[in-house]
């Protein structure tokens, strides 16, 4: 139970927030309007150098680092004075940047976390509609330009059809492909027929009218996890990221009362 809790990113998120809160309480806000000491230690310089290296693909020279540190210091001084004056309060850029960073913080652990088979099994069970394979159909069809000729052909018992560049017969064709080849209307009309050894119809399509011998229909099933593990994991992951963002937000949001007079 405790182990599960420890892996929970929301807990990390809250702990990190609590820790910052405690630290700030302890040492005072490092960027607080009253703090007038700026420490540029080796760690800070390494951070600045690393930032340069990420952008430029090489370490800075000594004089470049010198310049970067000066620039950093200048910005830090102005930044603190800006905070002191409350300039961050109504700046939409600052607002959006900070909000985005908080969001990404909440999602980061979900992007990298490992995931157990049990979690994915559960995901598959609770979201079967996303993973069901569409099934297949086996049928013969004869196309007619008009409904009357189709009906007459059915009544006469001689089902030949007019020439058209559509498959006359398909064997275990995935339903998604059937929909692509024969079109949406045909797929919808076909769904209303029951498999039978005789010709049925006519049913309309984007092309005209069809007599159909629906020999078999497999409605499709949810494959076992082993076959689609990757797809399930990808789905779980992207959904979980969104959900964790939202949950993290709700926790913070609930601490506010919002009035809209």
């Amino acid at each position: 139970m405790i182990r599960g809790w420890l892996r929970e990113p929301l807990v990390h998120f809250l702990l990190a927030g609590a820790a910052i809160y405690v630290l700030i309480g302890w040492f005072g806000n490092p960027y607080g309007p009253t703090d007038r000491t700026i420490v540029i230690d080796a760690g800070r310089k390494a951070e600045i150098a690393a930032g340069f290296e990420r952008m430029m693909g090489r370490a800075p020279t000594d004089s470049e680092l010198d310049g970067l540190v000066k620039r950093w210091l200048r910005e830090e001084v102005l930044y603190r004075e800006g905070l002191r004056l409350g300039l961050d309060a109504d700046d939409p850029v600052v607002r959006r940047r900070l909000a985005t960073k908080m969001d990404e913080l909440a999602a980061a652990s979900a992007e990298t976390a490992g995931v157990s088979d049990a979690t994915l099994e559960n995901w598959l069970e609770t979201h079967p509609e996303r993973f069901v394979d569409g099934g297949t159909v086996s049928l013969d069809q004869a196309w007619y330009a008009s409904e009357e000729t189709a009906r007459a052909a059915l009544a006469s018992g001689r089902v030949v059809g007019n020439p058209i560049s559509l498959p006359r017969s398909v064997e275990a064709m995935p339903r998604a492909e059937m929909r692509e080849v024969f079109g949406l209307q045909f797929a919808e009309e076909l769904a209303k027929l029951a498999p039978a050894p005789d010709w049925q119809g006519p049913i309309p399509s984007g092309f005209g009218w069809h007599l159909v011998r629906l020999r078999a229909r497999d409605v499709g099933s949810v494959p076992p996890l082993a076959e689609i593990r990757q797809q399930v994991e990808a789905d779980w992951r992207s959904e979980t990221i969104v959900e964790r963002r939202e949950r993290a937000y709700r926790v913070l949001r609930d601490a506010y009362s919002v009035r809209q007079p």
């Binding site: 990190a16 820790a19 910052i20 630290l23 490092p30 760690g43 951070e47 930032g51 340069f52 990420r54 952008m55 430029m56 693909g57 970067l68 620039r71 950093w72 910005e75 850029v93 959006r96 940047r97 960073k101 990404e104 913080l105 980061a108 992007e111 990298t112 330009a145 020439p163 058209i164 560049s165 559509l166 998604a176 929909r179 692509e180 080849v181 024969f182 079109g183 949406l184 209307q185 045909f186 399509s205 984007g206 092309f207 005209g208 593990r229 990757q230 994991e233 990808a234 992951r237 992207s238």
Partner: protein, 640 residues
């Protein structure tokens, strides 16, 4: 603790951190797809795709505001619902079968990195200004990118953004993650994800862009990085492609596009710079660039009314785009047109072949979107715009475009984009890439009509009664193929089905180009089948009556009460001359339908000017790859 948090925050701001981790692709997904699925004996259906899509790692797309990345693009293309950057739900009615994500190689990921970079590290004043504009507002962000494109066209991109060594390093991590992601979404038999990039050569703003498309999985594509295009020569791209093929054993091709914005430079009679074209140059071009993207959001490049004055269907998707080059820094003049459109390029190819013995412009045709929203939307009723600034919203149809602002290009000039169809034996990287390579492809302006043709010398109408596909492959060649002159007129079996969910067909035409006895290039359009051809629409004085128009402008609707569900023809060239060099391609034309502009007008309750309404009804179309008729070797005048 604070430090750990800072590191975590820093990490989330860097491309690469946290991404690329996830489920691993299987062995079958990682490769080129050979021997992974059961293949049909002959190509049995067209597979639909978009080979030209930008996401948030394109320098301009990100700046235009897109925040959807390659993973969203892949999900969307295979049919899933995603939320577009501007907040609307986006989903395709029908999934695509394949996708090439083709983000710009120049400064790949750079705007995203620039945006994410701590401001203090952005030293260059121009970059720092763009950085600030991108953070300020979507409008400012779009302005920054317009400046960036103009700067690129004028060779004024800040050094920090284009230094190739730096860029290659920055691109490496991004690309490694990217090709691994593509493998994960590549599912042989279901959905094909190709690695690719756009190579954006643009001298003086004249568009010489290519999409580069790989056949292979990450084991091979991960050995290279996308090759920058600005300030390069096209021969350098071919060098890069040859080196890739030699070093990895893989395969790669390049797809020129937007020749309509090249001011005559895409298909020149000479090599670049006006020097005479050599056979070697022609051979490299034809070998590396087997297909051309003939239609997309930024206009259609089939032909221009001034080039084809006798073609009543010329001029589709030309308005606005014909004015000049990509950023409209230079206007077009009529002498530039033959180098800007594909039909005239195919003709030039015949002439050059006569001179050099090699045809540099023997290319097949495809369509694609060139969308910069990470959403491959080619359908008129579901158009998400050229870039994020013009995702669905009331003003987008009538506003000037970002490129060539106030120079006469407006939102309504955008087409909804096209798609590529590839005849293949199955849906794998190898099968679809090889279809491109043998040019067994066709372009559509969006609808999914099924177009098939075979050319040979002994086909007859009775071939339709049997297994005509087998007949076609065994006694002739499919689209994209070569016929060697035997002294007999070529015969074509052509079959067209309407888009099953779309509009009926007006007519099917063969476009023939040839070199006449005087060495002059000629073109002619033959109507070979059309709806009601023996009834109400029988020829009158050699001309076919128009199909009619059922479009309800106010409701953005039409009815299939006119036109045909399918057309077929067995056609023999009536003007064949022995020894003639010629190409033949099919143009298939739908009945008139509403364009995206009318759907917008209905959705947002817009009042459009009359001329815009009339320009918003169009006959969508498909262009097959040509079949070439070549003289037998001794009849040629070249040095073959």
């Amino acid at each position: 603790m604070r430090k750990a948090l800072l590191v975590a925050l820093a990490c989330t701001t860097l491309a690469g951190c946290g991404s690329g981790i996830g489920p691993r692709a299987s062995e079958a997904q990682q490769g080129d797809g050979e021997n992974t699925i059961k293949l049909a004996e002959f190509p049995d259906r067209p597979y639909w795709g978009d080979t030209h899509l930008h996401t948030d790692i394109s320098v301009d797309a990100f700046g235009f505001g897109v925040r959807l990345g390659p993973e969203d693009a892949l999900k969307f293309a295979r049919g899933e619902k995603v939320v577009a950057t501007t907040g609307l739900d986006a989903q395709l009615d029908r999934p695509l079968d394949f996708l090439v994500i083709s983000d710009h190689s120049d400064a790949m990921g750079a705007t995203r990195r620039l945006y994410d970079a701590p401001r203090l590290l952005v030293g260059d004043p121009t970059l720092r200004r763009w950085h600030d504009m991108m953070h300020e507002s979507p409008e400012q962000s779009q302005r920054a990118v317009a400046e960036l494109i103009t700067a690129a066209a004028n060779n004024q991109i800040p050094e920090a953004l284009r230094d190739p060594v730096q860029q290659a390093k920055a691109t490496r991590d991004l690309w490694t993650n990217h090709v691994a992601l593509l493998d994960r979404y590549n599912e042989p038999g279901k959905f094909t994800a190709f690695a690719g990039f756009e190579w954006s050569l643009m001298p003086d703003g004249n568009n010489l862009h290519r999409v580069v498309m790989f056949r292979d999985g990450s084991a091979k594509t991960g050995q290279v990085v996308p090759f920058p295009g600005l300030d390069m020569k096209v021969e350098q791209l071919w060098d890069y492609m040859e080196a890739y093929e030699k070093n990895t054993g893989g395969h790669v091709l390049a797809i020129p596009h937007n020749s309509n914005l090249s001011n005559g430079l895409m298909f020149e009679m000479t090599a670049p710079g006006g020097v005479p074209m050599t056979a070697e140059f022609a051979k490299r071009r034809a070998g590396h660039e087997p297909v051309v993207e003939a239609t997309q959001i930024k206009g259609d490049s089939e032909t221009h009314p001034l080039l084809s004055p006798n073609d009543e269907f010329a001029g589709f998707g030309v308005a606005g785009w014909e004015l000049g080059n990509l950023p409209l820094t230079r206007k077009s003049t009529p002498d530039m047109l033959p180098g800007s459109y594909v039909r005239s390029a195919l003709l030039r190819g015949l002439t050059l072949e006569q001179q050099l013995g090699v045809n540099p412009y023997a290319f097949g045709l495809i369509g694609s979107t060139d969308s910069h929203t990470a959403l491959s939307t080619g359908d008129e009723a579901n158009f998400f715009g050229k870039h994020t600034g013009v995702e669905p919203r009331p003003g987008r149809a009538m506003e000037p475009q970002n490129l060539g602002t106030r120079e006469g290009r407006y939102g309504w000039h955008y087409l909804a984009g096209g798609y590529a169809a590839a005849w293949a034996r199955g849906n794998t990287r190898a099968e679809i890439f090889d279809a491109f390579k043998r040019r067994e492809t066709y372009a559509t302006t969006g609808p999914r009509m099924v177009l098939r043709l075979f050319a040979g010398f002994d086909f007859t109408a009775s071939d339709w009664d049997g297994d005509w596909v087998r007949t076609g492959y065994t006694r002739g060649v499919p689209m994209g193929g070569d016929l060697i002159d035997t002294g007999k007129a070529p015969v074509f079996l052509i079959s067209a089905l309407k888009d099953p969910d779309g509009a009926n067909l007006d007519r099917m035409q063969v476009v023939k180009g040839w070199i006449d006895a005087n060495g002059e290039a000629q073109e002619k359009i033959y109507d070979v089948a059309w709806s009601d051809m023996d009834g109400k629409r029988a020829r009158v004085a050699g001309k076919i009556p128009a199909v009619g128009d059922t479009v309800d402008r106010a409701n953005a609707s039409y009815t299939n009460t006119i036109g045909a569900a399918q057309l077929r023809a067995t056609w023999t060239d009536p003007d064949y001359r022995s020894g003639q060099r010629a190409f033949y391609y099919v143009r298939l034309i739908e009945i008139p339908t509403p364009r995206w502009v009318l759907f917008d007008a209905k959705r947002f309750g817009l009042k459009l000017p009359e001329e815009v309404i009339e320009a918003s009804v169009a006959q969508e179309r498909a262009y097959s790859s040509p079949v070439w008729l070549r003289p037998a070797a001794k009849a040629g005048t070249g040095k073959t």
